[in-house]
Amino acid sequence: MIGKLSIDLHKLAKFTNLAIPILAVLFFLAGFRFSFYFHFLTVTFLFLTVINLFYLHVQSSHSVLRNFGILGQGRYMLESIGPELRQYLFANDTEEKPFNRTERAEVYRKAQNIDSASSFGSQFEFDSSEIKIRHSMFPIGKDKLVPYRLTFGEERGITKTYTINKPFVISAMSYGALGEKAVRSFARGAKMAGIPMNTGEGGYPKYHLDEGCDLIFQMGTAKFGVRNEDGTLNDDKLKELAGKESIKMVEIKFSQGAKPGKGGLLPKEKITDEIAELRGVPKDRDVVSPSSHAECTDIENTVAFIKHVQDVTELPVGIKLCVGRPQQFEELVVEMKRQDVFPDWITVDGAEGGTGAAPKAFIDRVGMPLFPALKSVNDILTKNGVRDRLKLMASGKLVAPGRQMVAFCLGADAIYSARGFMLSLGCIQALQCGNNTCPVGITTHDPALQHGINIDAKAPRIANYVHNLEHDLEELLASAGCRSVKELTFDHLYVPSESTLHPFINAN
């Protein structure tokens, strides 16, 4: 039998634990006999011995340290840099979540105006789950395309309608979730790109307003900025806010993809004095919004509440929700028909959505994914004959033109994205949004980390990203032989059998 070389970590640890005090003694003797300088090592190893004894015999919260002593720290050290090692060295280009390197690279290239042509075939799994767009045998010229134009509020005939000329909107991220510089960069970039930005449910939109871009004010379940003490709507505050020049529309958030059925969450690490004041909340604990609006307890008063907000603001008013049960949504639509009240748009947030911090179970397990949810919503609206009474917006990982096209085919009129814009601002997907430790300074209030963002350098990237998305969208539309996104239908999609959209093929 030939002895094999192998490393027994437990034996190695035991040897180390024995060696440390022995070395302390040896260095002591060397210090005594040769040079007093050896006692630097004596003291070091003496301290290591004490720490090791503490690990092995005193503390009880970590089994690894109790059994392995100081070498056990190696596990924690390596584990702590595991995400970085995997991302940089070991994970392949298509396996990271939520966005793999291929997807992130596409956004980075768009944001920096670098050509995104790639060669030698797709990285995707072709035959199993990828939805494809069916192109036409007779693509049209790009000159035949109808310029994109979407007017919110036109169905109700209000005076203050709002028109967008590009189908992209920066999705809801609050000041609180984002740091000041990130908010300013997004707002300035949105202004340069000519698209609106959603404020998120972060209370009075201070830095958003500074930059003068068009804003969609989001009213979350806690109604930060427009609330009474008891959590109900303060009409006067809302009216005052809606009167501002920059505020073009108001979105009532019923639920969001990161945590459907739960209110917004701002971890206490991220609550500064200013945020506490803007939201009117205490600093020393997480801010948890209620799971629903105080006014909305059933379908009837929910629809009435939408009407109320429309009347108070005199602006286009939309709602945002993540679909749980399509049947319930249908009940809502029926009630809208009965009261003849429709929001000016509905934002369907896919369960995959989520810049926000949320309990893991909610991020992973609650709510319908965007594509089947969007399709269901569009079908329900069409079935009830009210699809032309409102617009549909879609959000949920729509960072690249491919998925955006799919959303258009499923009935979306415009695209909401948050993470796409974060990536174009330099997000590296470190997954630390809730810890106030964002390494690129986007989701943090730490001035030392925000130092990483130069607003003047980053804002144009938002505009570049929008511009290149628009370019790709036009190319895709032309190849599908459609003159505008309105002409896209479910039939423009090739849906493989393993897709979540596959059941809808038979239904149609």
Binding site: G31, H39, T42, V43, L46, F47, F54, S61, H62, Q73
Partner: protein
């Protein structure tokens, strides 16, 4: 309770800084007593500058809020070395007894600071946390 502990920590910090700090004057000016200790007894000529510099660093760290625990660690290490010196080479006669006792007092101060601020120390703090963030026991 926490505030009391921090007040106690600051008192200990000041004790350690004052004791270590006043010896720096003798070390850096080459006081005859210092020469005797470092050159004759310990056989480390010029060692007073090495030790003196390290003590100066420890004093500074002990006064900066973010680095107090590190200063205490360095101070405790230096004082342990000093006590080893007294036991093995310097002895306890005359003024050396006084110096040795001061080393003990400083060591005790530094250890108190370390105990109060144990959660600020790297390597130790992980083992002290009741809950660990990634739940990796």
């Amino acid at each position: 309770m926490k505030n009391k502990a921090y007040i106690f920590s600051w008192i200990a910090q000041l004790i350690a800084v004052v004791i270590m700090g006043q010896t720096l004057f003798f070390k850096f000016t080459g006081h005859p007593e210092t020469i005797v200790i470092f050159e004759e007894k310990l056989n480390m000529p010029g060692g007073q500058y090495v030790i003196g510099t390290l003590e100066l660093i420890a004093c500074i760290l002990l006064l900066i809020p973010n680095s107090i625990a590190y200063g205490a660690l360095l101070g405790a290490g230096l004082m342990t070395g000093a006590i080893i010196g007294h036991f093995t080479k310097i002895g306890w006669e005359g003024s050396h007894l006084q110096l040795g006792i001061m080393a003990f007092i400083t060591l005790a101060s530094c250890i108190s600071i370390l105990l109060i601020r144990r959660k600020e120390l790297p390597f130790i703090n992980a083992a002290l946390k009741e809950k660990c963030e990634q739940a990796n026991d």
